[in-house]
């Protein structure tokens, strides 16, 4: 009862100072929005990268020349299947396409079984020449739907028309956002890629624990190749997103610093009015614990409201509005990538850390100066004000 009454007084006390309360609330909320957005987006991108790779091949073999990715001869399949432990080798045909019309980048992929693992939002996978299935991002950027035509310019600068037979949906938004899937033959014609070459080779192995060993064997068999394991890709993605997220957090640490300065400024002294109020409360019979409880409620109410509002705004910003500004920086594709709608994912450990790093200092900066005033005799506090 006593706690609730003091909470009621604390809330009323915050409302009595609307200007100051709003100013702190806005600064605090903005800081949480920025920090939580970076955390949400980094985590969402890492989660999506993991989901994306989970459906992919265990090992991908690319040919390199002068350190650059080259098309690989399909004939190399025969050499790789002979390596003990290799279950299956499939040449993959895929590539990138810059759509000047919308200023976005698409990934064009030849139809294979991995594409069939993707669930479709609507329609079916393409079966014939002149058909394609597209990701939601492509559909959104081109404003096209099922059975509409998708016109793309091929390697020879000739416009080709593809009928949309399906629109993808996937748990991994990144996986299908920019995807255009069509049968392998038409895609080769589109890119002008000879039948004897493929973009890379997807390798499946019998024992997943042997992937690294088999990758070494492939490297020995094809010295000009670069075998990339799924776990390497995953580590790279995570490292890249962590690094970018870290850079963003480092940049926004200035906001955190500004907030700390604000908190410190608050901690180093109470206004005469606040000191006087504490003196009055003590004089009329509040003990130090009551005053501290009042200030604790005040600090908690304000910081929790700011934290929850900040997290909610960050959530909407990242997962609803597609993280404007931050998305481009963290993904590194800037405007070339179709608009992103990351699948909502929250790491509660990170959120808890953020809460600890912001709520605790703020509450402390509210309670400590009040404690200094409250432990003084009310007589002295009253005389000082």
């Amino acid at each position: 009862m006593r706690y609730l009454k003091i909470l009621e007084y604390a809330l009323a006390s915050l409302l009595r100072r609307p200007g100051k309360t709003c100013a702190i609330l806005v600064v605090y909320t903005l800081m949480i929005v920025v920090l939580a957005s970076v955390l949400f987006l980094t985590q969402a991108l890492k989660t999506e990268a993991t989901a994306m790779l989970a459906g992919g091949p265990q090992l991908v073999v690319q040919k390199t020349m002068a350190g650059r990715h080259e098309l690989i001869p399909v004939a190399e399949v025969e050499r790789l299947v002979d390596i003990p432990g290799v279950k299956e080798v499939k040449p993959r045909v895929w590539g990138y396409y810059y759509d000047a019309l919308t200023g976005t980048n698409y990934t064009l992929q030849g139809f294979d079984t991995s594409a069939s693992e993707l669930s479709l939002l609507d329609g079916r996978l393409p079966r014939e020449e002149g058909e394609c299935a597209i990701g939601a991002g492509v559909a959104g950027s081109r404003l096209i739907h099922l059975q509409d035509d998708l016109i793309l310019i091929d390697y020879d600068n000739i416009g080709r028309i593809f009928t949309v037979t399906g629109v993808f949906v996937s748990k991994a938004d990144v996986l299908t956002q920019d995807l255009v899937v069509m049968p392998e033959g038409p895609l080769r014609q589109f890119f002008g890629m000879p039948e004897s070459l493929a973009t890379d080779l997807a390798v499946e192995v019998y024992n997943p624990n042997e992937v690294d060993t088999i990758a070494n064997k492939i490297k020995r068999a094809l010295p000009d190749s670069r075998p990339i394991t799924q776990s390497e890709l995953l580590r790279t993605y995570h490292a890249v997103f962590d690094w970018r997220g870290g850079m963003m957090l480092a940049l926004f640490s200035s906001a955190l610093m500004a907030f700390c300065i604000l908190a410190w400024d608050k901690a180093t002294g109470l206004s005469a009015g606040e000191r006087r109020e504490i003196g009055i409360l003590k004089a009329v019979g509040w003990d130090t614990g009551d005053v501290l409880l009042l200030k604790l409620w005040e600090g908690l109410a304000l910081s929790l409201l700011a934290f929850l509002s900040g997290c909610l705004i960050a959530f909407l910003l990242v997962f609803w509005w597609g993280a404007p500004l931050l998305g481009g920086i963290l993904r590194g594709w800037s405007v070339l990538f179709p608009a992103l709608r990351p699948t909502p994912f929250i790491d509660f450990y990170q959120l808890g850390t953020l809460a600890f790093l912001t709520i605790v200092p703020y509450v402390a900066s509210t309670v400590i100066p009040a404690w200094r005033a409250a432990v003084t005799d009310p007589d002295e506090v009253m005389r000082a004000s």
Binding site: K5, E277, I280, A283, D287, D290, P378
Partner: protein, 230 residues
Amino acid sequence: MNPLICTEEVCKTYHPRKADATQAVAGITMQVACGEAVVLKGPSGSGKTSLLSLVGCMTRPTSGRVIVAGEEVSRLPERFLTLVRRRTFGFVFQQYHLIPELSVRDNVMLPLYPERLSANEMGQRVAAALAEVELAGLARRRVTELSGGEQQRVAIARALVNEPRVLIADEPTAHLDSRLSTALLERFAALKQAGLTLVIATHDPQVYTHPLVDRIIELHDGRLCKEGGA
């Protein structure tokens, strides 16, 4: 008769270990009986307010003892000292010390928050205290919208809301004209009649010559220089 309040050689020095150390009270021994109205008289700086603070458990003596209702309070832990202050004393400060942003009702309610009372009980007590000072009609007004005399009545209501045994008033007529001062003293007289003990610090002759006063303690430079009946 056992005294309700007793001080023994009580001293109070502010900032004792600093260069600007000031001895406000220097070895005062006095007693206040239950139901008595005592005036602390003296010029500004004579130690009246400091002695009121000591007697009302608002501060601790540098030396000497303060005894309230038979219990020595000078060395009590802060929590218990606060409890004694809350349950035994009601204060009317010279500057009223109301919280300007709060309404009359909320100001009067302040001493009740730490008590184990329901919202209903709190409301009833506040209403009774405001009725006592004839301010029931102004309960929702902000204290800044009130006149000086009305603000002082709010301060009295706040002092009475916890049903204290002792009312401590510091220069209660300092900001009032003669008519309001008379009304205030009549109110104090009624409270005394109801059994309340009064300790009033003043240098206003209108107060210390009033019939409600039983005893006058005269202070000078923090020392008791004269004590006697009104």
